[in-house]
């Protein structure tokens, strides 16, 4: 069992609602993994405090009187007068001209056709790759607009975010691999070190390129894939 599976099932495990096999494998994992054991402990503390807490500490004293006061305040507020609406008999009576109506219709048609084109492109263009590995070239118009107004990440920003996530995972697996390292024979240790060196060389190469040219999507993509390989290497060796 890995940490993700364990943490996913911790809540059900604490409720004693897991089947015996899964429960046993979680117990075994918790004995071996300090991080998951800490998560389990935190969960247990929260659950205990919920059980121990008295309802009087959650509900305010004399709650009925409080609700009455709130109700009185709402009712005592002066009601708004309904706005008088000036009735119009039609668009033409507002002084609209045929040319103005025509230009409005034309504008609506133009905007809707543009939106249709953009929508179709957005529907067909995105490939199977996830957003983190998307390049600025493959970014759709809609995404570009969103990132311009700050509503979504640019490919560079999402790459940075992804990079930080990968680094965190690498640190975790590296710690576990180092704990296991004493159990490997010399051949394993040498092969591991040589491969890690190669990967680190590649990471440093791509990082240097990206520092000089943050728009270099290919180096970003390669950095992402190299960090994944490093993570896989560490994970594979931490299981030995």
């Amino acid at each position: 069992m890995n940490c993700d599976e364990c943490q996913e099932n911790i809540s059900v495990f604490l409720d004693n609602e897991l089947d015996e096999t899964l429960s046993l494998s979680i117990q075994t994992h918790l004995l071996a993994c300090r991080d998951c054991a800490k998560v389990c402990e935190d969960f247990a503390v929260i659950l205990d405090s919920c059980r121990v807490e008295k309802p009087s500490e959650i509900v305010p004293p004399n709650s009925q009187a409080l609700w009455c006061r709130i109700n009185n305040i709402i009712e005592s507020e002066p009601k708004r007068e309904p706005e008088t609406v000036e009735t119009r008999k039609g668009w033409f009576s507002r002084g609209w001209q045929f040319s103005q109506i025509g230009s409005v219709v034309l504008g609506v048609a133009l905007i809707s056709s543009l939106l249709t084109v953009i929508g179709m492109r957005n529907y067909f263009e995105p490939s199977t790759v996830d957003f983190t590995s998307r390049t600025s070239a493959s970014q759709t118009t809609f995404e570009k607009v969103l990132s311009r107004v700050g509503l979504s990440d640019t490919p560079q920003q999402s790459r940075m975010r992804r990079f930080q996530e990968q680094q965190a995972a690498i640190e975790y697996w590296n710690k576990r691999a180092q704990e296991r390292r004493v159990q490997w024979d010399n051949k394993m240790r040498d092969a591991f070190d040589r491969n890690l060196y190669e990967i680190d060389q590649a990471v440093s190469e791509y990082t240097t390129i990206l520092q000089q040219d943050p728009q270099d999507d290919l180096s970003g993509e390669m950095l992402d894939s190299t960090l994944n390989e490093k993570m896989n290497l560490l994970r594979a060796f931490s299981e030995l």
């Binding site: 159990q183 490997w184 024979d185 051949k187 394993m188 092969a191 591991f192 040589r194 491969n195 190669e198 990967i199 060389q201 590649a202 190469e205 791509y206 290919l218 180096s219 390669m222 894939s225 190299t226 390989e229 896989n232 290497l233 594979a236 060796f237 299981e239 030995l240």
Partner: protein
Amino acid sequence: MIRELKNCLRFLSDRKTTILLWLSVVFFFAPVSNEVLGQKRFSRNYPAIKNVRLQLLNRSGTVIVEGWDRPEINISAYLESPAANIAPQSLSGTIFIDLVKDNQGRNGIGNVNFLIRVPRVSNVDIETRIGNLSVTNVGGNLVRACITTEGDITLTNIAAGAVDAQNGIGDIFFDGEMRTGGQYRFTSMRGNINLRIPFSSSFRLVATAPSTRNISLGSFANPEMTFGDGRRVIGRFGGGSAALTVTNQRGSIAFIRR
């Protein structure tokens, strides 16, 4: 007493050549016999039903998988000492061998070298931490060969619908056909990737060698292939029905006409 000793010495001097010959024979074969004695052999046969799948995870050693015409799977393993635990499991047509799980926490286990024979139309999924992998004469839906660290991958006479070969440091050689709509992926950190495919193949190509920029398309080069700055080649060959992705972080990529 002295006379007996003298007789003995005379006997030895008379047969000096024969004794020397025998001693040399003993010394010559001594290391070989030690090696044989230090190795255990494991062998097992399984009847093959439809949709055979071999799933093997080795720690270290060579793995050779060969396709044959018999409806059975034959697993032979040579275990160097200290011998690893090996416990294959057969479940609805899939043979599972997981030496990492079977030997977790054990120190200094010897190499396990496999020779596995499977029906030609089998799915093969093999992985090792260190060592060479070789698959020959297999044409099922999937051939996957993965080396976590070092070793060469050799895939010959392959006609699978999907091929995935991945290693750290080492060469990858593929010699086979590409099926319509198939998916083929070759990934290495450092080494040479050589692909020998028929000229009648049809594929969409993404080949990347960012460090060396050494991508040789050979006979497969055509105006539909774009080289950009040399780090990546994207293009189409023939109708472009299969997807071919080749990535070599710090090595070369070469295409050879079959």
